[in-house]
């Protein structure tokens, strides 16, 4: 069990800046993030795209903003837990939170701060009948162990780097790889496209122009039905189907925590940015209140006000001295970058 003042859910820009504001009031943080890196949408959706509306920063990319926030919060030593989805939350008799993650981590936290953006990034599920029944066995959204796919018949769907990279990597171990994509155009490294086309010409990969429309009604998976662009339906024998259509955001287990929602966003007040559950705060894109704007800078503001209230929640008997980083000797001492 990991004990912490604050558990932050989500390592997007707002979750990261929350570490700073909480650090100023001497609260330590652990951050749970479903992706394998910090930055949230900034690093997943627009790492190379410019952002122009961060005060004092005329322009920076999503990745640059993430990097600078990581640098800015460095002095507070936040502990990151990547690739983990927060699943279960329980209030203890001591008014603390026990939080469990998908990977089996357990936290004992005084306060929970949800900074989960539009929810947790999860693979896109194509609308193919019965697909949910096969998930985990016949349908996988990521390749964990290449060896587990040795000798299998694999159908891969998609036209991005993941689809192409895995088609290239797996054709050597798999019994057969069929790549299904609706166009001859790919969103992938030109070199990968060239290699795939060569393998297809040599008969080592089946490349089908079309879309996957059907699976076995019940497990185990034996074939994927492909509708070709010409309109024909063919059965591609398959033990495993790998759909690669990128990521989407789903609210996930947060929906089960007893919070009040408005159209998939958590209702908060604008004084504390606290939810209807005392001790659980929500900041950034995930929250909603009258006048809410989904802007990074709004999330930063919310983080500052939240931190004041998180302090009062965790240290009810202490007075909170408001200080400026520019003039406070004690704050400056904390902020000296190593």
């Amino acid at each position: 069990m990991i004990s912490t003042d604050v558990l932050i859910v989500g390592a997007g820009p707002v979750g990261l800046f929350a570490v700073f504001e909480l650090g100023l009031v001497d609260l330590n943080c652990h951050i749970v993030e479903v992706l394998d890196k910090p930055g949230g949408q900034c690093s997943e959706y627009y790492p190379e795209k410019p952002i122009y509306d961060i005060p004092g920063v005329p322009v920076c990319t999503g990745q640059e903003l993430t990097d600078r926030l990581i640098q800015q919060i460095g002095p507070f030593g936040p502990q990151f837990h990547f690739g983990e989805l927060v699943e279960e939350v329980r209030l203890t008799e001591a008014s603390r939170w026990v939080v469990k993650t998908s990977g089996g981590l357990e936290f004992d936290a005084g306060v929970i701060v949800i900074a989960a953006g539009a929810g947790s990034f999860t693979p896109k599920r194509p609308p193919i009948p019965n697909i949910e029944r096969h998930e985990g066995e016949g349908v996988q959204y990521a390749v964990r162990k290449i060896e587990a796919l040795r000798g299998k018949r694999i159908v891969i769907a998609g036209g991005g780097d993941s689809a192409l990279d895995w088609a290239l990597n797996l054709h050597e171990v798999a019994e057969r790889v069929t790549l299904v994509h609706r166009r001859e155009e790919f969103r992938a490294a030109p070199d990968s496209v060239r290699k795939m086309n060569e393998l297809a010409r040599a008969g080592k990969i089946d490349f089908v122009l079309g879309k996957c429309v059907g699976l076995d009604e019940t497990p185990p998976l034996t074939a994927v039905t492909v509708q070709t662009n010409g309109g024909a339906h063919i059965r591609a024998a398959a033990d495993v189907f790998l759909p690669f259509f990128g990521l989407t955001m789903k609210l996930g287990p947060i929906a089960q925590w007893g919070l009040n929602f408005d159209a998939n966003r958590v209702q908060v007040d604008t004084e504390k940015f606290q939810t209807n559950v005392p001790g659980i705060f929500a900041i950034g894109d995930i929250n909603v209140y009258p006048g809410k704007l989904k802007l990074i800078l709004s999330g930063f503001h919310e983080a500052a006000l939240m931190a004041q209230q998180a302090f009062r929640h965790l240290r009810p008997t202490q007075r909170l001295l408001f200080q400026y980083t520019t003039t406070s000797t004690s704050l400056k001492k904390k902020l000296v970058h190593a």
Partner: protein, 103 residues
């Protein structure tokens, strides 16, 4: 100006459309469930719509960005477009489209 938008249950809605607005924002403003997760940055393909074939040729062409992101749209078809990449003009008054499935 208006759009005719069919939701995922097959119900058609008359959606008021403002000149210059991305179609995605018009659909969202009407309260229809279009996720548009990335907020119109042409990155997530969750404002995916099917355009009634008669209208396809009247739409502005597909830029490279949209074409790339459409590859990550689930259940894409020949009449697939991203509603964040099309801006409303008088020529599109009465456009008919259908919301694609949510991934």
């Amino acid at each position: 100006m208006k759009l005719y938008v069919t939701d995922r249950e097959g119900n058609e809605h008359v959606v008021p459309a403002m000149p210059e607005w991305p179609l995605m924002e018009c659909i969202k403003a009407a309260g229809l469930p279009i996720p548009a997760e990335c907020g119109g940055c042409c990155l997530c393909a969750t404002c995916h719509v099917y355009v009634e074939p008669d209208w396809l040729e009247r739409l502005p062409g597909i830029e490279q960005d949209e074409s790339n992101t459409l590859l990550e749209a689930i259940a894409a078809r020949d009449n697939s477009r991203l509603a964040c990449q099309i801006r409303m003009t008088g020529a599109l008054d009465g456009l008919r489209l259908r919301l694609a499935p949510v991934p």
